[in-house]
């Protein structure tokens, strides 16, 4: 199985190199990448069956789940290596990532077909944009697999940065648009803040554990539980808490948690397939995955868990509000993603890593579906994304309509749809954590309940505005409205299936069995999932709980506001104009960042540049030393006169110097 795992990771890389670095036709590019990622998916499914379902250890003749593929170097006792850790958690991530990626690859054929229209005439960048796009998404798949399959922090960091890089490249894919370049720069910079914390966290792990290997770190973790360190004189911190919070800051950047969430809505500047793949289904969940993977560390620090809980709950509720006022169809889905990431984070903070990962998986399917559905609408509308110019699309796009409906139902947590199980589990577990007295859980519980209502409201607002009601598009667009080709609709259908069923199917395995026992560690007293009585009783129990009724209320509200009394939203907006403007302003995060952080950094930077860089470093050190070396070079050069007797003389001098220096007469 060593070979299979290696193939799973490296096939997408081969596809990416083949499509990106060689002069291939469009057909070759998409065939090559689709076949390689598809093979990766089937092999992952095979591994999933063996590892997760049959419980076989994959490596060294079924005796280990860790494999060292390549040892880069050894520094003292620290091994820097590339290796795999394949257990149930990894296998689940591998299947999810490769499946969604494969669907997105196929979908892209349709979405990028007319991509030359997005480029200025005759630009060289536009000529190969199709091939480049396939190369990038395959490269992303490779990076993401490296991240999830890693067995050490160094490779985790490699994957972390690599997915960030590809995300940067893809947000700015249409590099001739200023907004795209602005958005990718923003994503890059905000992630830098998170990655700085992440890197410090890894450095702290190295400092206190003296190793970067997961297994060794987890083994040593309990022995460091009571170690306190002094960050500032006089303030004592538990080392584990510091490590956990630093690592979580990395996760906040990557998984877009408040206040590092600002890049995700702007990332919608990229083509829709990558919004689905990277900014909804996989990359943004890397932070969730990472915290789940590090559960043996996080379990030791209730401070860090409370911190996570509060951040997550804030994100889940307040980002949901913003989804209510957006007009761009993709932005609504983007804010919904932010809010759902908040839900997953809350689950982590409540020690229910399994529930977080469960929601991660179901969310990957239905959110990818919603994004691709939105993309399908955008294709049909000729790249119009404003919902105010849509409406009544149901009869033109029947497949998109049905699949989007299924995706929305899953998202808001309709009983028996997959989102219902994962979201209900999270809300239950937060309630449980509250009864256990975890700090922040009470707030989180209320935030999540309110969030359910908001989720249903914005989801169905989008749904009704797009597919129902008056047809508000112009005549020209209306004439050309038709369902996009098969390559677009087939992935929608294939994603709709797991969106509906996967929750019910996986509920027992993932939450109520030993499925994650080998990969996720939860302390005995933090265990929330005990009694399981089958899917039906889980649903029946759910029907008696507030989330179901809140979701129903949300859908009804949306129905009345956007189908029945369509003049009402404008009135509400006028009545509560202050709140509306705060929401439109996105709570002012962007303004604050632009003014204080970006502006301030530029001011300080200018000062440092003028004095520190130009004068001291460039003027004195760089050019100064270069000049001195140059002068010496010219002087010494003269010593090489070309005259034989002088050469011989210098040898004699050398001999005499050595004699005088070392022989003590």
């Amino acid at each position: 199985m060593e070979l299979i795992c290696t193939l799973i990771v490296f096939l997408p890389l081969v596809g990416s190199i083949g499509a990106g670095l060689f002069d291939v036709t469009r057909k070759t590019a998409h065939r090559l990448t689709i076949v390689s990622v598809g093979t990766s998916f089937f092999l992952s499914a095979y591994i999933f069956k063996l590892v997760a379902l049959d419980g076989i250890l994959p490596f060294s003749n079924n005796s280990s789940n860790v494999l060292t593929l390549y040892q880069w170097m050894t520094l003292g006792k620290i091994n820097l290596e590339i290796g795999f850790l394949v257990d149930a958690l990894t296998a689940m991530m591998m299947v999810t990532v490769t499946f969604v990626s494969w669907m997105v690859h196929i979908y892209t054929i349709g979405y990028m077909k007319d991509d030359e229209h997005n480029w200025l005439n005759n630009s060289l960048a536009g000529k190969y944009s199709y091939q480049r796009f396939f190369s990038y998404i395959s490269l992303f798949t490779f990076s993401m697999l490296m991240l999830v399959m890693s067995n050490n922090f160094l490779q985790l960091f490699f994957g972390w940065e690599a997915v960030g890089l590809v995300s940067y490249l893809l947000i700015g894919f249409w590099l001739q648009r200023d907004t795209a370049v602005y958005a990718n720069l923003k994503a890059f910079l905000v992630n830098r803040v998170g990655d700085f914390g992440f890197l410090l966290g890894i450095a702290a792990v190295l400092m206190y554990f003296n190793t970067l290997d997961y297994k060794e770190v987890f083994l040593l973790a309990p022995s460091l539980e009571n170690l306190n360190i002094e960050i500032f004189p006089g303030s004592e911190w538990s080392a584990i808490t510091v490590i956990c919070i630093l690592l979580f800051i990395g996760a906040m950047g990557k998984s877009a948690q408040v206040p590092l969430h600002v890049w995700l809505p702007d990332s919608m500047e990229g083509p829709t397939p990558i919004s689905a793949l990277i900014h909804a289904a996989t990359m943004v969940t890397a932070g969730i995955f990472m915290v789940a993977r590090m559960s043996p560390l996080y379990e030791l620090s209730s401070t860090a868990l409370s911190f996570i809980l509060i951040i997550g709950a804030t994100t889940a509720l307040f980002m949901g509000f913003l989804g209510l006022v957006q007009h761009d169809i993709k932005r609504v889905v983007a804010y919904s993603t932010l809010s759902q990431l908040g839900y997953m984070t809350v689950a982590l903070g409540a020690s229910a890593y399994t529930a977080g990962v469960f929601h991660l998986m179901t969310h990957a399917f239905f959110k990818a579906l919603l994004f691709l559905g939105a993309g399908s609408v955008i294709i049909a509308m000729h790249h119009e994304q404003d919902m105010r110019k849509m409406g009544g699309l149901r009869k033109y796009l029947p497949i998109t309509y049905i699949t989007t409906l299924l995706g929305s139902l899953a998202l808001i947590g309709t009983p028996f749809f997959s989102g219902f199980f994962s979201k209900d589990a999270i809300i239950e577990v937060v309630h449980f954590a509250d009864t256990q007295g975890r700090f922040g859980a009470g707030f989180a519980y209320i935030a999540l309940l309110l969030g359910v209502f908001i989720t249903a409201l914005y989801s169905f607002r989008m749904f009704f505005l797009t597919f129902h009601g008056k047809e508000r598009m112009d005549e020209h667009t209306k004439e050309h409205l038709h369902e996009p080709p098969f390559v677009v609709t087939v992935p929608l259908v294939l994603l709709a299936i797991p969106s509906v069923f996967i929750g019910g199917l996986a509920l027992e395995t993932m939450l109520y069995s030993d499925f994650f026992k080998s990969s996720i560690y939860i302390m005995q007293e933090h265990q929330a999932f005990h009694d399981y009585h089958g899917v039906v009783s889980f649903v029946l129990h759910g029907l008696t709980q507030p989330p179901f009724w809140l979701a129903l209320a949300g859908v009804l509200t949306a129905y009345f506001l956007y189908i029945q009394w369509t003049e009402l939203p404008a009135l509400i907006q006028a009545r509560f104009s202050t709140i509306h403007s705060i929401l439109m302003d996105k709570y002012g995060f962007d303004r604050f960042n632009d003014w204080f952080i970006a502006g301030g950094a530029r001011k300080i930077g200018n000062v440092f540049s003028a004095i520190g860089d130009m004068k001291i470093i460039d003027g004195f050190f760089v050019n100064g030393t270069a000049n001195v070396v140059g002068v010496f070079s010219q002087i010494f050069r003269r010593m090489q006169t070309g005259l034989l007797y002088q050469y011989a003389f210098s040898m004699i001098i050398g001999l005499l110097v050595l004699l005088v220096w070392f022989v003590h007469f």
Binding site: Q640, L644, Y647, M651, L655, H664
Partner: protein, 477 residues
């Protein structure tokens, strides 16, 4: 003087090379001009044959044969193996160049093979006499090779300088050896070592003799201040000869250093440590700084050689086994890189044109991206940029220097390396940023194209898996 047959068996590679050199000498006189290729093939067969003979006689321990003249140990096997590899590649690289200049004659191969024989003997020397004979055999062949291109005034001048200075250095080395003979009463390195270990001999006397030995070794290596011949000979000699001089003989010179200082004079290591330290610092400093001012790439690489020699002395001066392995690793890596770099110069040269100015590399990327890429690997490796092999060579030496407590020395070495990175990177900049001045098509024979690609990619590949080569060097000591 009774020599058992088993001793001759150990000596088979040397005997084979000698015999073949004689055969080629005769063949070259009698074959018609259209069969000149035969010389080349015979020479390559010789190298391969010697390699087979050496590698079929592997050993873990060391044995001294031929009346204690000749040592057969893992170090000699490893160094010889690389000397064969390099000689083989050098023949291959030089073919086109020599043919274009009417130097593709039997003499070249005979001289190269006698030089090879000299190196083999130096590497396996266990006795002052065999060491000296090997050294002279190598040196005399090299003098003649530099002078071989009689039409070139530069080459003749270089050969003259090389010969006179070489004779001076040989004289000093011989003087040092005779002093040791006078002191210890023996010429065998092992016995000298035993006599010194008794501690009955006055140190002043030993140190005095050691200085003369050191001058001889330093000259051969080209360490400052005994380096003056290096730039002139590298520049003056036909590039194919420079290629030969710059690669394999450095391995032999390293072996000489090890045989003399470690096998023979280990007891004086406190003395030679200091001498090597001075020479190492001076070599690194002068080599790196003066290289910046050069416009001729052969001359620039000559100064780069001097700086690399300084670096390899660092490993030896730690006087530990790990240090020796690191230095050996460094020497082998250096020889491989140097071979590739001069190979690239040969590749760009053609009939009537010597690509010896740095500006000849301008815009190479536009003329041939692949060769520009190979050259970039070589230059990055020379500068010591990870993950190239050159980085690991520098790293392993510095590691040992630090482990021996000379942190300041490591800092000095790194600083000079930073200065040195400038001129390697300048080549890369010229290749990739500037426009080409010379647009002649680069015509390269298939064998050379493959060989130089393997050379360049090998540096990269071994850099990704440095343990392979490093482990070989570790196992020697």
């Amino acid at each position: 003087m009774n020599i058992p047959m088993s001793d001759l068996y150990v000596l088979l590679p040397e005997i084979f090379v000698l015999t073949m050199a004689c055969i080629i000498l005769i063949v070259a006189v009698y074959i018609p001009k259209q069969l000149m290729e035969l010389n080349y093939h015979l020479a390559q067969v010789t190298v391969i044959g010697a390699a087979i003979l050496t590698l079929t006689n592997l050993t873990e321990s060391s044995s001294i044969v031929m009346n204690n003249m000749f040592i057969h140990d893992p170090m000699s096997i490893l160094l010889k193996a690389f000397i064969y590899l390099i000689t083989f590649t050098v023949f291959l690289y030089s073919r086109q160049y020599l043919r274009a200049r009417d130097l593709y004659k039997g003499e070249y191969f005979v001289l190269s093979l006698t030089a090879l024989l000299g190196m083999q003997i130096m590497v396996s020397a266990a006795h002052f006499l065999s060491l000296y004979l090997g050294l002279e055999l190598l040196s005399l062949s090299l003098y003649a090779m530099v002078a071989m291109w009689r039409d070139s005034k530069q080459a003749s001048e270089a050969a003259m300088k090389y010969f006179v200075l070489g004779a001076l250095a040989s004289g000093m080395l011989l003087y040092g050896m005779s002093m040791f003979y006078g002191i210890t009463g023996t010429l065998e390195l092992q016995k000298i070592s035993e006599v010194i270990a008794t501690g009955k001999i006055e140190n002043t006397l030993l140190a005095f003799s050691l200085v003369f030995i050191m001058v001889g070794v330093a000259f051969k290596l080209g360490a400052v201040p005994f380096h003056m011949w290096v730039p002139d000979v590298y520049q003056g000699a036909p590039t194919a000869m420079t290629l030969f001089i710059s690669a394999a003989p450095k391995l032999a010179a390293f072996a000489m250093l090890m045989r003399l200082l470690v096998d023979g004079l280990q007891g004086l290591h406190t003395d030679w440590q200091g001498m090597l330290m001075i020479m190492a610092i001076l070599s690194m400093g002068l080599g790196n700084i003066v290289a910046i001012a050069q416009t001729n790439i052969k001359r620039m690489l000559a100064y780069s050689t001097i700086s690399h020699i300084g670096f390899l002395l660092l490993g030896v001066l730690t006087a530990t086994k790990e240090g020796y392995s690191a230095s050996m690793f460094y020497t082998i890596v250096y020889a491989l890189m140097s071979m590739g770099s001069f190979g690239m110069i040969l590749l760009l040269s053609r009939a009537g044109f010597e690509a010896e100015n740095i500006d000849d590399f301008k815009g190479l990327n536009e003329r041939s991206p692949w060769y520009a890429f190979i050259m970039m690997i070589l230059m990055l490796s020379m500068a010591g940029v990870p993950p190239m092999l050159g980085f690991w060579a520098k790293w392993s030496v510095l590691n040992q220097v630090v482990a021996s407590g000379f942190v300041w020395l490591a800092v000095v070495a790194v600083l000079f390396s930073v200065i040195g990175a400038f001129f390697y990177l300048r080549i890369i900049r010229l290749m990739y940023v500037d426009k080409p001045e010379d647009l002649t098509k680069i015509v390269v024979a298939a064998d050379m194209r493959i060989a130089i690609s393997i050379n360049g990619l090998g540096i990269l590949a071994l850099g990704l898996f440095p343990q392979i080569l490093f482990q070989l060097c570790m196992n020697v000591f």
